[in-house]
């Protein structure tokens, strides 16, 4: 049996070789390569690794955290490392070991650092939580400690938030996700961040760190690795918990993520598209002589004015040896690492969206391919950028994904309204009440839990939301919703996104239901009905006939 199969496989193989002119197997032998690092990127990397098995490659990856990934790569324990931040960017920079061999940063995948949370109102999971940056920073620095804090309420006019304790869940291991988050905090909310660091006994100003400071006695809990922070929040008993983790973890855990307010006062979810839009503003170090060539400066992203922007967008790097062999990395491995890189920069980016990431834009892919050519031993194939099957590419050089990204619904704008659509892995809608007009009291949460220290007074110089949704235009846009606001058009369906004004305040806006799509010509109705009737009659006849007949016959017997 097996032999027949083999013959057939062999024949098929021979045929394939003839048809495609593929070189014989030996020429395609790849030396396995091994890497370690970021758990932020792990879900994408491991998918690519399993997909290239069909090309004969074996790529091993161990998600040990970015800090560990950089250390292992520097010590020559791995062939490549993966990290969210370059060497020497966090507070451990002075003591961080760097590789003694030439290496480069290659962008691999973009994504949003998401804020996955577990919060119920009544017995229903909240899926549409919104947070402004100021509130977010205060939550993770124990300034805001309860969910019904006025600042959180101001962000969420449609939710009756409970008086539940907020449990910030942070990473205990050296983490690039922590570094990304603290980069944002130290840049956007330095006062809040520095005050927290000072309390935690860190140096001041605090700056970027991979090791999140935890003050004993606070509600904050530290867990190791993206799996554990996501796993912690996902527990039934973790009501009130919120963590920072790559979007894909929330998708897999079927949990919602907070929409974060951007510079244009829209609350945005970290989808592939909103990340792609945001990264249009990223400044890439394009100085080839800089040791940080191709690393990102995300400051312009944080305040990018495009209303589709997710502000905490970033991309992660692969650390690759370049220009010459080192004690571990020889040319034989270069072929594998090179072809693997070609794969994930082009074809592999197709999977990004599905996995909860965002595909790299063309400028980064081009620059990444330049780095790939420097890998010792790489098969220097000229990659036809037109053939590079990356979903962001277009003929005119713009980022297709960003260009076609839908505009946010007006209910996502700062103001008295709030979209009820679920986020992340949680698809269920959350009913919203009539905006900020009505008091939003619930059992247990009815009374205001006082004003936590500093809760309402923004200590941040940038314009930020304070209690009451008081930014200009909030109320106005809510009221005129659906009439004056330009309707956002979904590029794929040609349908307007978001509800009409009529549903406002009752929670029917932008429902998760599909937009009707017309189908082809239908059968003539009468014929169909007749046929159905016939079928039903037949069926009934078939089932009821035999017993009835049997009964008749039985009677006959008895007589």
């Amino acid at each position: 049996m097996r032999r027949i199969g083999r013959v057939i496989i062999a024949a098929a193989t021979a045929l394939a070789v003839m048809m495609t002119g593929a070189p014989p197997a030996l020429a395609d032998t790849y030396v396995p390569v091994t890497g370690a690092g970021s758990t932020w990127s792990e879900n994408a990397i491991r998918q690519w690794a399993s997909n290239v098995e069909q090309y004969g490659m074996r790529v091993n990856y161990d998600g040990t955290g970015s800090t560990n990934g950089r250390n292992q790569f520097a010590s020559g324990l791995t062939d490549f490392g993966v990290s969210e931040i370059p060497y020497g960017k966090d507070d451990g920079a002075s003591t961080e070991a760097r590789p003694k061999f030439p290496f480069a940063y290659m962008p691999i995948v973009a994504g949003g650092t998401a804020f996955m949370y577990n919060l119920k109102v009544g017995n229903k999971l909240v899926t549409n939580l919104r947070l402004s940056g100021d509130t977010l920073a205060k939550i993770f620095t124990n300034v805001i400690t309860v969910w019904n804090d006025p600042a959180v309420k101001a962000d969420n006019p449609g939710l009756a938030l409970p008086a539940r304790k907020i449990v910030p869940v942070v990473r205990s291991d050296g983490s690039g996700t922590t570094a990304q988050f603290t980069t944002w905090m130290s840049n956007q909310h330095p006062n809040i961040w520095n005050a927290y660091c000072a309390k935690a006994g860190r140096k001041n100003p605090c700056g970027v760190t991979s090791l999140y400071p935890v003050i004993p006695g606070t509600a904050t809990t530290a867990q190791s690795g993206s799996q554990s922070v996501a796993g912690y929040v996902a527990q039934e008993g973790s009501q009130g918990a919120i963590t920072y983790v790559e979007y894909s973890y929330a998708l897999y855990a079927k949990f919602p993520v907070a929409k974060i307010r951007n510079a244009s006062n829209y609350y945005i979810e970290p989808t592939a598209q909103s990340v792609a839009v945001a990264l249009l503003a990223a400044q890439i170090n394009t100085n080839k002589n800089s040791p940080d060539y191709l690393t990102q400066d995300l400051r312009p992203v944080y305040n990018y004015k495009d209303k589709r922007t997710y502000p905490l967008s970033s991309y992660s790097y692969m650390l690759i040896p370049v220009d010459q062999e080192n004690s571990r990395f020889k040319v034989a491995k270069g072929k594998t690492l090179g072809d693997f890189s070609y794969y994930f920069l082009c074809e592999g980016q197709q999977q990004a969206d599905q996995l909860g990431y965002s595909p790299l834009p063309i400028n980064l892919v081009k620059a990444g391919l330049e780095q790939v050519r420097r890998i010792p031993g790489v098969a220097k194939q000229t990659v036809d950028i037109q053939k590079c099957n990356n979903p962001t590419f277009s003929k005119d050089g713009t980022n297709t994904l960003a260009k076609n990204a839908p505009f946010p619904s007006e209910c996502d704008k700062v103001g008295v309204t709030q979209c009820n659509k679920g986020t992340g892995g949680a698809e269920a809608d959350t009913p919203t009440t009539g905006g900020g007009k009505k008091p939003t009291g619930t059992a247990g949460g009815g009374t205001n839990a006082g004003t936590p220290g500093g809760g309402t007074k923004a200590s941040n110089p940038t314009k930020s939301a304070t209690a009451g949704g008081g930014t200009t235009g909030g109320g106005a846009s809510g009221g005129s919703m659906g009439t004056t606001a330009p309707a956002a058009i979904d590029p794929d369906t040609g349908q307007a996104i978001g509800g009409t004004g009529g549903g406002e305040g009752t929670g029917s806006i932008d429902s998760a239901a599909a937009i009707p799509v017309s189908v082809g010509t239908q059968v003539d109705g009468t014929l169909k009905t007749v046929l159905i009737a016939l079928a039903c009659a037949l069926l009934i006849g078939l089932t009821m006939g035999p017993p009835l007949a049997a009964r008749l016959l039985n009677r006959g017997d008895r007589r």
Partner: protein, 805 residues
């Protein structure tokens, strides 16, 4: 048997003629080699030596001296794979060994390539001498000509890729067993095994076993040395002389897919992953089409299926049907959720001498009831939770001190208490998790336990869990608590649930870590760059011979890692393992879903004592109207492959991995029919749907509900006579639950064709019917009532007639 004797005779004849003990044997057979000198009684058998690919083969032996592993490590086997074109066997520089040198359980250099050990231990036969104060290493010469000098395998292999077994353990009765991963050129390019040679065959390689006793390379034993263990490398000349070699013949490696082709995207739940990985290299053969596969959760697969770009998804349970953009489902694989075990026998105080012979042997099975599984998954054993909790005070420490467990697994009474209080479980949503909980809830005892009632021995569920609503779609670890643990720096630090019992990323990782004896526990002090303590990091795996882990995974993955699986109690009260028979028996208790044509659902009225309870049928699904014509063709081909060659069990590329049960013929026919419809109706703008009668539901071989209003097929009446499929027990009444399979079919040997003519066009992309579509359901319901009423009336009639007589 004769082959084995011949092989043994041949092997014996060779002793003394050529230095290594070489054995050969006829194709497909096991090979046994015999040791020499002090190892003359040792007979090592390699279960498969021909036709190899990347797979695990069993290496077993008899006549060895029992391994000493208390305090010191003596009397063991060192096993490695080598290349070499010489007929007598490989040279020592051609062997993949020495990457695990940090594992110095045996001695300082027993796991390394180093062959100079200082002045106190000198191998006189050794030709490689230390130079300039640098120790001497046996270099590794690769098949490609490259040479790696120094301690490891350089670019050719390292600790993460090697398959060497440095310490093969012999039990008290002189037998032993190891599971050796044979590697091809893909996994071990330095060896090049199976690489296609000019004559079209695959390159042969060697398995080398170096037996180790108690004598060192300088002839000293025990007391003559400062310590009683061995220090030298198996590659040291004196040790290498004792080697036993077995030739390994490989299948020529198939071509791989051409890189750079745009992939046709598929996504799927994990139960499909092993099969897709196996099929991918074959699916791309003969065309310029390559399939990409991304593993997602069932839920994300459903989201994609009902979205704008459905592609082809693989899932365990269907999505909600959308009449405007109907989805088609086709069975593609039968698998199951399993509890895999890596538990070594450790004799307890009550063990007899006979029991003690099992010391360190891997236990091959367990029996678990739904309640035991519920206990293991709810942090109800003290070792799985905070044992200071009063809420669970009095519960057993671990599963092996639970009277219920001992009732079904009496052997464990003779063992030390295994430290199993929970299992390795994956993070995230999965339909299979929900199936497991449904199985637990279907058992009255387990349900009572889960909802708070004590078991007969007084054990109660961790109340954190009884407060939750069930079934869930995940494996919760809801009792989040911390205890204090002392770090290396001497301070007490929080040590919490997810440090003690971390999640794995997915079921694959659960099985992989279980197979390594790695519980993932983070109990080692972690420090930052400057040495300050920052928390906890992962500790060392459990020692071989002392492993005790359970993992929740899928059957194919458990098989991939060679893990035994637990027998689970089914509804008949029988303990059944996830074998092909058990899973197919379970499929036999399912009925065709009327709500979602093409899928199966449990039939509560049917039980089978042989049915494995956590069996799943994986479906390939798409929405033809939402995909392109070209995509429809590719997906249809994939479905046809899944229903054809893809169901041949084996280890070669393109086959069905062991651990899946081959799809029953009836379901394969169904899938092929659906593939045709997918191809025909992909991209609806081109081929607008046309009318059809729904009557095809009543066709005998057309499982109920597969079709509603398919426009393609000829009317049922025309088709029925040509359909050779045997009429099933209740023809034509879908809700009557026509049984998908009557018997276990044999897998298709080869070829895309199927001996059974495809009952074409049973399925449909489906179209809007309005309320009329409910008519059939209503009619069916009437049918059911009628079917039940008929016999009842008859009975009533008989009773009445009996009275009248």
């Amino acid at each position: 048997m004769i082959r084995r004797i011949l092989a043994a005779v041949f092997a014996v004849a060779l002793i003394g003629v050529v230095p290594p003990s070489v054995a050969t044997a006829a194709e497909g057979s096991a090979v046994t080699v015999t040791g020499r000198g002090e190892f003359a009684d040792l007979k090592v058998t390699v279960a498969q030596t021909t036709n190899l690919i990347n797979q695990v083969v069993t290496v077993s032996w008899t006549g060895g001296k029992p391994t000493v592993d208390v305090g010191v490590y003596l009397d063991y086997l060192q096993i490695m794979q080598c290349w070499g074109d010489d007929a007598t066997g490989p040279r020592r520089d051609q062997c993949q060994y020495g990457a695990l040198y940090t594992d110095s359980r045996g001695g300082t250099w027993t796991g390394s390539r180093q062959v100079s050990y200082g002045d106190s231990l000198v191998d006189k036969a050794e030709t490689l001498k230390p130079e300039n104060g640098q120790p001497a290493y046996v270099p590794f010469t690769s098949v490609t000509g490259g040479v790696s000098t120094g301690s490891g395998g350089g670019e050719f292999f390292d600790a993460t890729t090697t398959n060497e077994i440095p310490y093969g353990r012999t039990r008290q009765n002189g037998t032993g067993e190891e599971f050796f991963e044979v590697q091809t050129a893909t996994e071990a390019p330095g060896l090049g095994c199976g690489a296609k040679l000019a004559d079209g065959t695959g390159r042969s390689c060697w398995l080398v076993i170096v037996p180790r006793g108690q004598t060192e390379v300088n002839g000293t034993t025990g007391d003559a040395r400062p310590h009683r263990w061995l220090d030298s490398s198996p590659l040291s000349a004196t040790n290498w002389d004792q080697r036993m070699v077995v030739p390994l013949k490989f299948q020529p490696l198939g071509s791989v897919c051409p890189i750079g082709t745009a992939e046709r995207r598929t996504v799927g739940a994990e139960a499909m992953t092993e099969a897709m990985l196996r099929w991918q290299p074959t699916l791309c053969a003969g065309g310029d089409r390559v399939y990409g596969y991304s593993q997602v959760t069932d839920d994300l697969a459903r989201t994609r299926l009902t979205g704008k770009d459905p592609g082809l998804v693989f899932l365990n349970s269907p999505a909600v049907q959308n009449p405007k953009n109907p989805q088609l489902y086709a069975p593609v694989a039968v698998s199951g959720l399993t509890i895999a075990l890596n538990v070594d026998w450790q004799s307890g105080f009550d063990a007899t001498d006979e029991d003690r012979l099992n010391e360190g042997r891997r236990i091959t099975g367990l029996k678990l009831t739904p309640r035991l599984v519920a206990k293991l998954l709810t942090q109800s054993y003290l070792s799985g939770a905070d044992n200071s909790r009063t809420s669970i005070a009095g519960n057993p420490m671990t599963v092996s001190s639970d009277p219920e467990f001992l009732k079904y697994n009496p052997d464990f009474a003779k063992q030390l208490a295994v430290p199993i209080g929970d299992m390795l479980v994956p993070l995230g949503q999965s339909d299979l998790a929900k199936r497991l909980w449904e199985w637990v809830l279907a058992d009255p005892d387990a349900k009572a336990f889960l909802t708070g009632a004590k078991d007969p021995w007084g054990m109660k569920v961790n109340p954190v869990y009884s407060a939750q609503s069930w079934p869930q779609e995940t494996f919760p670890k809801s009792d989040l608590y911390c205890v204090k643990l002392r770090s290396d720096a001497g301070d007490e630090r929080d040590w919490c649930t997810l440090d003690m019992h971390p999640y794995t990323n997915n079921m694959h990782d659960a099985a992989r870590y279980a197979s390594r004896g790695d519980s993932l526990v983070r109990n080692v002090t972690a420090r930052d760059n400057v040495g300050s303590v920052i928390g906890w990091k992962k500790g060392a795996p459990q020692a071989p011979g002392k492993r005790a882990l359970l993992a929740v995974t899928d059957v194919a993955t458990a098989d991939r890692y060679g893990l035994p699986t637990a027998q689970l109690m089914n509804r008949s009260g029988t303990f059944v393992a996830p074998t092909t028979e058990g899973m197919l028996a379970s499929v036999g208790t399912m009925k065709y879903s009327t709500a979602t044509p093409g899928t199966l659902e449990p039939d509560p009225s049917r039980t089978d004592a042989n049915a494995y309870p956590l069996t799943t049928v994986v479906y390939g699904a798409t929405a033809p109207l939402a995909i392109t014509k070209a995509a429809g063709k590719d997906y249809a081909d994939l479905l046809r492959y899944a229903a054809g060659n893809g169901q041949t069990p084996g280890v070669e590329p393109g086959t069905l991995p062991y651990g899946y049960a081959p799809l029953p013929a009836e379901l394969r026919t169904l899938t092929k029919g659906i593939a045709d419809i997918v191809e025909k109706y992909a991209g609806a703008t081109v081929a607008p749907p046309t009318p059809t009668p729904p009557a095809s539901t009543s066709k005998p071989s057309s499982p109920g509900g597969v079709t509603v209003d398919d426009p393609v097929p000829p009317p049922a009446a025309a088709q029925a006579p040509t359909n050779p499929a045997p009429a099933s027990s209740s023809p034509g009444v879908p809700s009557g639950g026509s049984r998908p399979i009557a018997a276990v079919p044999s897998p298709k040997p080869a070829g895309h064709g199927d001996p059974m003519p495809v009952a074409q066009a049973n399925t449909t992309p489906g179209h809007r019917l309005g309320n009329a579509r409910y008519a059939l359901v209503a009619a069916t319901a009437v049918g059911v009532v009628a079917a039940l009423a008929g016999p009842a009336l008859l009975l009533a009639g008989r009773v009445r007639s009996g009275r009248s007589e």
